[in-house]
């Protein structure tokens, strides 16, 4: 518990395509298996549709489509991460795989601005270094909210 006093961040590490992404655990409400998605006509192309999560209707977006990758191939490892930015409205993000929960402190996070990585959409909040691997930490609000 003492360690929490230092500025640390817990992240859920997910894999989509070849990259690992970190999502701040604060915003994660739930992780569910893939389920039937009802298509919503004329929605943004990266929105797959809506699902029923215990009586709540939740829109689901594809991280792959949002990031300009190929369409999702649903496997046994595919998960939907339910994100709650505000208490009233949730949104689901389809990822290829959920790996683990890690704790990062400030020294392990590099600001995007300092690095060579280009982040023209404001999707990233930083790069985390963990066990020799790199994790792109998502600025979840930037990913979810349309900035057109």
């Amino acid at each position: 518990m003492e360690a929490n006093l230092i500025d640390t961040k817990q992240c859920i590490v997910v894999k989509t395509g070849n990259e690992q992404y970190g999502i701040d655990i604060m915003y994660v409400d739930n992780i569910v298996r893939m389920q039937r998605i009802t298509r919503v006509p004329k929605a943004q192309p990266y929105f797959k549709g809506v699902i029923n999560l215990r009586g709540e209707i939740i829109p689901v977006m594809s991280m792959r489509l949002k990031f300009g990758l190929d369409d999702d191939v649903i496997t046994n490892a595919t998960r939907i991460i339910i994100i709650k930015l505000e208490s009233q409205s949730a949104v689901g993000i389809i990822v290829d795989e959920v790996k683990e929960v890690i704790t990062l402190d400030d020294t392990m996070i590099e600001k995007v601005a300092n690095s060579a990585v280009e982040d023209k959409y404001g999707y990233l909040s930083g790069i985390g270094k963990h066990k020799g691997g790199l994790i792109s930490l998502l600025n979840i609000a930037g990913v979810i909210i349309e900035t057109v």
Binding site: T38, R39, V40, N52, G55, I57, I58, P59, S89
Partner: protein, 702 residues
């Protein structure tokens, strides 16, 4: 004192009082001698003052106080009600509303003093009483009262401030203190502060009293012992104790009680003469105040208790209602929703089971469940229903102001104020209605001279009628004014370049009138303060459509216009027809469906290269829903098309669907704000098997 937890109640109650004041003032204007009304006004104003004082809103308190003074004089028959007076009082109410607005936004009343209104009030008071002498008194007394009240407010709000000085010690108590002093017993005023987080304040206070009893005689406490036991105190209370024990000793005893934050002990030094003097003075002051404020039962020395008592007397005039947190209701709603989903699940099982063999018990259960859910739904909906009165009762005042401003005589007639609507609709419907009324008053009604010339009664009439019609609530805003000049609208439309003159000629009158709902379309030649900026009717229309309703205008030149608003009675649950398009399921609200037809492919005709059918003499355009919704193509070659005829007002359209599933009670849910919602989808619902189906808003298709 931390009053933030009462803020919501304060705002609600202040709104109620202001509303009641507005209404009663209107009555008073027409019946200046109505003593019942004056009494009610006085009570409402007094409660307001007490509440504002308790909450520490001093400017608000001051203004209400000055208004109350005027009411008090009227009530005592020393002043008569004049038009000027009512105007100033209405201004005062507006100022109070402005304070309330600030408080609602920032929990702060703002810095506007409204000195002009206060001056006007005092002037009226002076003139009305017509004497020099009372003027002086008048000027003194409010001051005094305010200081007295604000001192208490401060004392309450600043817990660090010792209470000792404010304790008024009665004669017999003084005598006891003096007597004790003679016997070498000291008198102390002890103020005990309890920790903010303490839950059982009364219990802590009890322990303090218990500890003190062992030390000496407690002769007085503030608040009263009974109030302390009932937890009717904030975080501190004071007692006077006669004891031989030293200050430090007392302090340590009290500090032993847990959750006591601080103890301040002051010795009462008794100079016999002085004590009696000051006490008498204090007594005199408080008595004087009571005199002045009319026959207040309680002096403002206990602002909190005062307002509570005043509220009790005022009770009959405020509507008896239980305030329910809307969030709690939403939870209840969700529970009901799930119950219905569960029921639907059972229904679908039963449908499958029927093919084989099924026990009747199962069916009984379903019927029972169905009955329960229906009842539950109804009762929950009833809780959500609010009479439309709460919205419309501010309109008479508005029409009165408009009448003065526009210099037209007009009357507002309202019926059906008791018609109930969903709370969310009630909150939203006020502005559109206000807009329509302003329109009617400004553009609809002619000037009194014009009316006379046209052979109408000089005083214009505006009607606001609300009534229930099946599953809808209808609100009509009607005037007996000039009506909409269709030719003028046509001319305007052509001028604006919205259409060519030929197009305009070809349009029906109804289509022309519908143009009024288009953005930036105002027929008023002159833009006035009241309306006519061209941001009107389209906004009204958007708002009402957002509530799931629609608006229609009917007008006759020279006879007046009628705006008819239809709103759904319930928002959350409705009957729908489930249809299939390819492999996808959609729900169409039953309310907008007229008939379902089987149409042969060969019956489809073309008008201007659009598909139509001729149904019993009516030409109805067809809508290929699968194309609009971009449903993935499926192999199908059908002779017959299933067409759902839907209507919106007088217009109809035929929606082609692949399959009909059946009628179902569905729970409407939002699909969330992140996903781009085009208007065709009105929401989503969960079917018996857990699948999500989208709800079509047919209004956008017709």
């Amino acid at each position: 004192m931390d009053v933030s937890q009462y803020l919501e109640i304060f705002i609600d109650e202040t709104k109620e009082h202001l509303q009641s004041l507005n209404q009663q003032l209107l009555v008073l204007e027409t019946e200046p001698e109505n003593s019942e009304t004056i009494n009610e006004i006085f009570r409402a104003a007094h409660s307001l003052k007490g509440m504002a004082g308790t909450m520490g809103y001093k400017r608000m308190q001051r203004l209400t106080h000055d208004m109350e003074n005027v009411f008090s004089e009227i009530r005592n028959g020393k002043m008569s009600v004049t038009a000027d007076l009512v105007d100033v009082l209405f201004k005062g109410l507006d100022a109070l509303e402005a304070y309330l607005g600030n408080i609602q936004e920032s929990a702060d009343e703002g810095t506007e003093d409204y000195e002009d209104i206060i001056d006007q009030l005092n002037n009226i008071l002076n003139i009305g009483l017509g004497k020099e002498a009372p003027k002086e008194i008048k000027e003194d007394k409010p001051e005094e009262a305010i200081t007295a009240a604000s001192v208490t407010a401060e004392a309450v709000s600043q817990s660090s401030d010792s209470k000792c000085n404010k304790m008024i010690i009665a004669d017999y108590e003084k005598k006891a203190i003096i007597k004790a002093d003679d016997m070498g017993i000291d008198a102390f005023v002890i103020t005990v502060y309890i920790q903010e987080y303490c839950i059982l304040k009364a219990a802590r206070a009890f322990l303090v009293f218990k500890a003190l009893e062992g030390l000496g005689d407690v002769i007085k406490s503030q608040p009263e012992v009974q109030d302390i036991e009932d937890e009717k105190f904030d975080l501190d209370f004071s007692v006077v104790i006669l004891t031989k024990v030293s200050e430090d000793n007392i302090k340590s005893k009290i500090m032993n009680v847990s959750e006591v934050k601080d103890v301040i002990i002051e010795k009462i030094d008794v100079d016999k003469n002085e004590v009696i003097d000051t006490a008498e003075e204090a007594y005199a002051v408080s008595e004087g105040y009571q005199d002045k404020a009319g026959n207040l039962s309680i002096s403002s020395g206990k602002a909190g208790a005062g307002s509570a008592a005043a509220k009790q007397t005022a009770k009959p005039i405020v509507n008896r209602s239980v305030r329910v947190d809307i969030e709690k209701l939403d939870v209840l709603m969700n529970l009901v929703s799930e119950l219905i989903i569960a029921k639907n699940g059972l229904v679908s099982i039963s449908a499958n089971e029927k093919n084989s063999k099924s026990g009747t018990g199962f069916n009984d259960q379903i019927e029972y469940l169905e009955r329960v859910t229906t009842n539950l739904h109804e009762s929950v909906m009833k809780v959500r229903m609010v009479p439309i009165e709460s919205v419309v009762n501010r309109f008479p005042r508005m029409i009165r102001d408009l009448s003065k401003k526009l210099n037209k005589k007009m009357e507002l007639y309202m019926t059906g104020e008791e018609t109930e609507l969903d709370r969310t609709v009630i909150d939203e419907i006020g502005d559109p209605l206000m807009h329509l009324l302003r329109n009617a008053a400004d553009h609809g009604l002619e000037s009194n001279e014009e009316r006379l010339a046209a052979g109408k009664p000089p005083v214009g009439s505006i009607f606001l009628d609300a009534y229930q019609d099946g599953n809808n609530v209808v609100i009509e805003v009607r005037d007996d004014g000039a009506g909409v000049n269709v030719e003028k609208v046509k001319k305007k439309a052509v001028e604006k370049g919205a259409m060519t003159a030929e197009q305009a000629e070809a349009m029906t009158d109804k289509d022309i009138i519908d143009l009024l709902f288009e953005p930036s379309f105002s027929t008023a030649e002159m833009i006035s303060d009241v309306s006519g900026r061209g941001v009107g009717l389209d906004v009204v229309k958007t708002k009402i459509e957002a509530l799931g309703g629609d608006i229609e205008a009917r007008t006759r030149l020279g006879e007046g216009s009628n705006f008819i608003i239809r709103l759904p009675l319930t928002l959350a649950i409705m009957q729908a027809l489930m249809v299939e398009l390819g492999s996808e399921k959609y729900a169409i609200p039953l309310g907008s469906i007229q008939t379902i037809e089987d149409v042969m492919n060969s019956e489809i005709k073309y008008v201007q290269s659009k598909e139509v059918i001729n149904l019993r003499g009516t030409v109805i355009p067809l809508v290929r829903l699968d194309k609009i919704l971009e449903v993935p193509e499926t192999e199908k070659q059908q002779e017959n098309l299933t067409v759902v005829i839907v209507s919106k007002g007088d217009r109809q359209a035929g929606i082609i669907v692949d399959n009909l599933i059946g009628q179902q009670e569905i729970v409407i849910k939002s699909i969330g704000k992140y996903i781009n919602n085009n208007k065709i989808i009105g929401g989503a619902t969960i079917l018996g098997d857990g699948e999500v189906a989208l709800i079509l808003d047919v209004n956008t298709l017709v």
